[in-house]
Symmetry: C2
Subunit: 341 residues, 2 copies
DNA sequence: GATGCCACCTAATCCGCATTAGGTAGAGGA
DNA sequence: TCCTCTACCTAATGCGGATTAGGTGGCATC
């Protein structure tokens, strides 16, 4: 049976009057084709062209162990219907860099039909590609663990230290970015800056606070940190802070943006405006980032591109690349922070 | 060389004291394993379990003859940086339905910032999927023609009649939708409705006008059509139409939205408001659709899903499916159309 | 004219699994 | 005892391409 009408190397070989291995050598290109007569190469290339030959990625991978396909697996729907297209910038970066590196993208889809453990199935299919990018908040640890046990190159987009050095990733440098935001506030003249963070201990939250502290430290200021669940951020509390001499607030953007939202709401209710009454900065990209908000931007597009570069290097067998990369986030001065008044 | 340390069927076979094909039969499950002794099955299953066997998807697919991959090729960047994410809803539908059908998505990347990849080359590579979806405004006719000459199942998203029956597609039924919008206006009491369209003769524009005319016809009204390049839509002209008794305007949404935008601008300048002074409806989805605009919605998500269904049927060899499908667009009553005043 | 040497290409295999045509052993019948 | 069936399993092969170890013919050399 010949399942597809696609031409194979054997067809080219017949047409060109050579053997299949010769075709493979020539189409394989470069160094391997060195010892082959120009004339033969021309014939073969012409035949391949004429037949519209395209190598079968499956066979290629089976035989050679690679097929120029980069897998992309998101642990939720790749194209989220609900959430603001948070993944989109990643995809843009991934697409661009993949094209630049000569890879096509193989998007693996967590089938909703498989129910129970959808990831197990897909994580197996993932091995179709030469390597795979992962994206998404909730990472299924056991399946990932099994995948890491294989030799498939993998890169996670986003910081994930659960697996230590075993899981390469490209993340954002929240620490440096947080410190930069604080320095910006200090340069504006703020001396009492309060960090309002959520109770969540996610690595990103930890990093942001570390960044805040580092920035304060570098400026010789005392770091004050408050944890909130959102509800306890009352207008009175805000006013009290202000009366005590606090001139700037820093919050963090998370998946829920609880602290950020609560702060905005409380300020509104208290009749406090930014930056007139208080300065405000936010560490991270809130989902509905108000224009002019002081903080930093997560370079999602660049992260996507960097992840592709890292992955292709891993595929190429490069053992020297740093397996954990943190991208710099650009400071966004914005308009919610100004000199204290 | 044994590239991966994973166990294969041969290993199981050795451990269970049977042959590799036997293992394949048993693990292949169900019907094929019918003629195999229970005892043997147990041994094999136990061995597989013990070794932690997981079938290699590559080899499986090579042997099975198809790879469960749907290609997706957009004639522009798949993830446009600039334009409002017009393709996004298509992608959502495509992803969902692909998952439901058990296919993964292979995204072919056309142009990139670096190194142009001519369509010809990519259209060749496209053939590595079991079938391919196409998306995008500008379709390279000669290359497409060559691709259609092969037996690769293909579905275009969007109406494209250049290739007649050779190119299956899933489009939107602009004619019916246009007629429905006009009927809506007529029901509101409008009798003199003016269609303001662009000069472009794209099939979609032709359809929209046809829809307008059909709607008017069904309501026993005379169709009046004006072509514009945008610049000639002066405030005076709008006022003149109104003074002559026109109570409703209909425009079309295109890639540039020239007519639509010009009309809004001219109305603003003329101090005419919708629906107070004139009623307005737009055929299609303008890029920045103002909330409440009367018109119809293009069911992009459903189109994506329908395209996947059509493609999978074609792949399965179904020769009876209608190769051209037009999806119904929902009327959006909106607020820019009201009874004439 | 035998030998050596290249330059070019092909035969043979493998990758891991699926499939089909056979083969073997044991049971049952004559 | 010989033959025929089943019941079970295996040998052989293919999928499409990569790789390696040869093989062949022509030309130069002694």
């Amino acid at each position: 049976m010949r399942p597809s009408g696609r031409p194979r190397q054997a067809d080219i070989a017949r047409l060109a009057g050579v053997s299949q291995p010769t075709v493979s050598l020539i189409l394989g290109g470069g160094a391997a084709a060195m010892g082959i007569a120009e004339e033969t190469q021309r014939k073969v290339m012409a035949a391949a062209e004429q037949l519209g030959y395209v190598p079968d990625p499956i066979a290629t991978r089976l035989a050679a162990g690679q097929n120029n396909l980069l897998g992309l697996y998101t642990f939720t729907s790749t194209f989220p219907t609900e959430m603001s297209h948070a993944y989109y910038p990643f995809l843009v970066g991934i697409e661009e860099e993949s094209a630049a590196q000569g890879y096509d993208l193989l998007m693996f889809i967590a089938s909703s039909v498989t129910g129970e453990r959808p990831h197990a199935q897909v994580l197996n299919r993932v091995r179709l590609a030469d390597g795979c990018l992962f994206l998404g908040r909730h990472l299924p640890v056991p399946e990932m663990d099994r995948l890491l046990a294989t030799d498939l190159p993998v890169v996670y987009i986003g910081r994930h230290d659960e697996f230590g050095d075993r899981l390469p990733y490209v993340g954002a440098d929240y620490v440096s970015a947080g410190a930069a935001v604080v320095r910006h506030l200090a340069e504006l003249g703020h001396e009492r800056v309060l960090y309002v963070r959520e109770a969540d201990e996610a690595i990103t939250s930890v990093d942001r606070e570390a960044g805040f502290r580092r920035g304060m430290d570098e400026c010789g200021l005392a770091a004050e940190v408050v944890r909130t669940d959102g509800a306890d951020l009352t207008p009175e509390r805000l006013r009290a802070w202000r009366d005590q001499g606090v001139t700037a607030l820093v919050t963090e953007a998370t998946d829920t943006d609880a602290a950020h939202r609560a702060l905005l709401a409380a300020a509104e209710e208290a009749g406090l405006r930014f930056p007139d009454d208080l300065s405000l900065a936010t560490l991270g990209d809130p989902a509905d980032r108000p224009a002019g908000l002081t903080g930093f931007a997560v370079p999602r597009r660049e992260m996507g591109a960097a992840a592709v570069r890292l992955l292709t290097k891993l595929i190429a067998g490069d053992r020297t690349v740093p397996r954990h990369q943190l991208m710099t986030c650009e400071l966004e001065p914005g308009e919610t922070a100004a000199p204290p008044r």
